[in-house]
Symmetry: C2
Subunit: 376 residues, 2 copies
């Protein structure tokens, strides 16, 4: 099913940690890893044009099959010529299966061994039923380069037997997705579940790992548990997964968490955090998170982040950005979103440099002592 | 007060109409006229970055002294180094005095010969009092290249004695603004009022015209009256005004109205129409106005306007833009705003070309017979 189109090369291994410097080939371009992938749920990164995505150095854009299925419809995206043509982005695209959305957003969920029935919240309340096979057909219609298996993401806290059942169901569905998936120009990734339970994570990795996917999502983290709990099991998951394919930690976007997850062996990240917090007036910075609503920025004529090289930090001052945020001007959300995305994309670029230079361990130690690490 | 900094050259006069092809010099750059000036009320054109304004070919950006006075405060803009530095736009800026906003937005207005007392609606309800002198100080603090006198804009319909009083008050305030204004790097424009009454328009032009302003606003139109009524008096106003300075028709943004107003002798335009309607999902086009919410665009994979050269029309299809609008995605508002601004800016560029070639009359006749003229 997959071919050399989706080759993953490990270019360097860190001596002190499990971190990898990699390169992932896709039909729409090469992805240097580790990297952060901006989230464009409904075929748009909120407030950001495709031209700005290129300026930012975004390598992969993430869309969501649940949302696109509901609006404008996967078939319409297919008729438009696929997701790349539809949204005007010619780089790699990844679609999440929508499993997470079904289990967190959809009303009146009914789950059985064969699939899941749900009412689409926020989309007029239509009744739908998805089997793993249905989901593969939808993601094939959308046409991303990387697609994710349909899985059952468990919340935190959740009882162990509930999580165990989700691990087994997700593994069964992984097999069915693999059989159903036909497009050779798409890489289908399996997803590891298991919550905070080390033995369930181990079981999940064993079952999914032996299926030979060209990449693995690591789901069910960052769903409310303390960060420490994630790091009790994440390094083991990464170590137990096949090493010759990318590891994608789903839904994590804290700068400090990203750097530690890289050390655990993660290659790909996505999260709404940089874009969603930007729309609420919050910016990542070398001084820690800044809430631009704070009165202390009213007459601060310095750059947003003196250490940042992005177009926003070169051009605009904090007093102006605060004015935009306080005035609820779209441009405030746009400029903060641009900066926050640059911040994470650039952070991963710096991580790659340190991995190439063999200095990642020192970089991480310095980071943890810096004011930037306050968001952890 | 003004100098060669604000020289206006009439480069060509149309044979068939009163239209002029002009050039207006300002300390922050030269403005080719006729032109449309995007509205950036609160020191931002909603949803559009400064870099995009440059791409659009915007020559002047309009801000509003009423809104900036209320937030973030004129003094703060001054401390930031002035409006250009504050918003990061190094081209010419024009501020409206805020007279229109006071008379249309502010609660509990109290008007007397000396000034106006008001409660700032939408800004916490603070009590304020503005005399013409106060307004000049505020606009000097903000620091635009072109500033407008404080005037009394009358609505439609309005009784003749009420409009007559507003004409006289506005003329008195024009004189006081002229005396109070001190910054030589700013051009202060007087404003003609008079509603739909030809004799009051004549009286207003006579009084304001002899004061020798470096440019004239024409206010009190496009406040609800039928277009035909405006064109009964607008050509006479333009003809009676000094011919060696720019004529600025305030608050008009219909493409067809713009072209006819150019024929009447107008050089500068501003309006929220292109930006506000864009945010509601409406686009100007060579086929007339398009409401992207319309179901007929759901699977229309053609460009927004096949006749338009803007970046949005080169890149995105109607089905995608409709999807963004229906999904209430910021990018929908951003892309339609970009297109609508380009549409008016480019329309004025084409008008200038026809004025230079002596073909404006024919251009206008063709336009009026085209589907694009449906918005009139």
């Amino acid at each position: 099913m997959t071919s050399d189109d989706f080759r993953f090369e490990v270019l360097a291994l860190d001596g002190a940690t499990q971190a990898r410097r990699g390169r992932f080939y896709t039909p729409h371009g090469t992805v240097e890893t580790p990297t952060f992938m901006p989230v464009g749920t409904a075929a748009t990164v909120k407030g950001i044009t495709v031209s700005q995505l290129h300026d930012l150095g975004a390598q992969v854009v993430l869309c969501n099959a649940y949302h696109l299925f509901n609006r404008p419809g996967a078939e319409l995206v297919e008729r438009a010529g696929g997701i790349h043509r539809f949204m005007g982005w010619d780089g790699p695209v990844l679609t999440d299966s929508g499993g997470f959305q079904i289990f967190s957003l959809a009303d009146t969920l009914k789950l059985d061994a064969d699939g899941v029935s749900f009412i689409a919240a926020g989309y007029g309340g239509a009744h739908h039923r998805w089997t793993p096979e249905d989901n593969m057909r939808i993601q094939e219609q959308i046409g991303a380069d990387i697609i994710m298996q349909l899985d059952q993401c468990t919340p935190y806290p959740a009882g162990k037997s509930f999580v165990a059942e989700a691990v087994r169901r997700s593994a069964d569905w992984a097999e069915r997705c693999k059989v159903a998936h036909t497009r050779e120009d798409q890489a289908l990734f399996g997803i590891v579940q298991g919550g905070v339970f080390a033995d369930l994570r181990r079981e999940s990795v064993e079952r999914i790992g032996e299926m030979g996917f060209p990449g693995y999502g690591i789901g069910g983290y960052s769903v409310g548990e303390p960060h420490e709990l994630m790091f009790e099991t994440l390094p083991g998951v990464c170590a137990a997964l096949p090493q010759d394919v990318p590891h994608y930690l789903m839904g994590v976007g804290n700068p400090t968490t990203l750097l530690h997850a890289v050390a655990a062996g993660v290659d790909l990240f996505d999260c709404v955090l940089p874009t969603r917090t930007a729309r609420m007036g919050t910016a990542f910075s070398s001084e820690g998170r800044l809430n631009l609503r704070n009165a202390r920025f009213a007459d601060d004529f310095g750059p947003l982040d003196p250490a940042c090289r992005c177009a926003v930090c070169q051009k605009y001052e904090r007093a102006y950005l605060r004015h935009l945020v306080k005035s609820r001007e779209m441009l405030g959300a746009i400029l903060l979103t641009y900066h926050n995305l640059f911040y994470l994309i650039d952070l991963m670029r710096r991580a790659r440099e340190h991995l190439e230079a063999g200095t990642y361990g020192a970089f991480l130690r310095d980071w943890d002592r810096s004011p930037a690490a306050d968001d952890y």
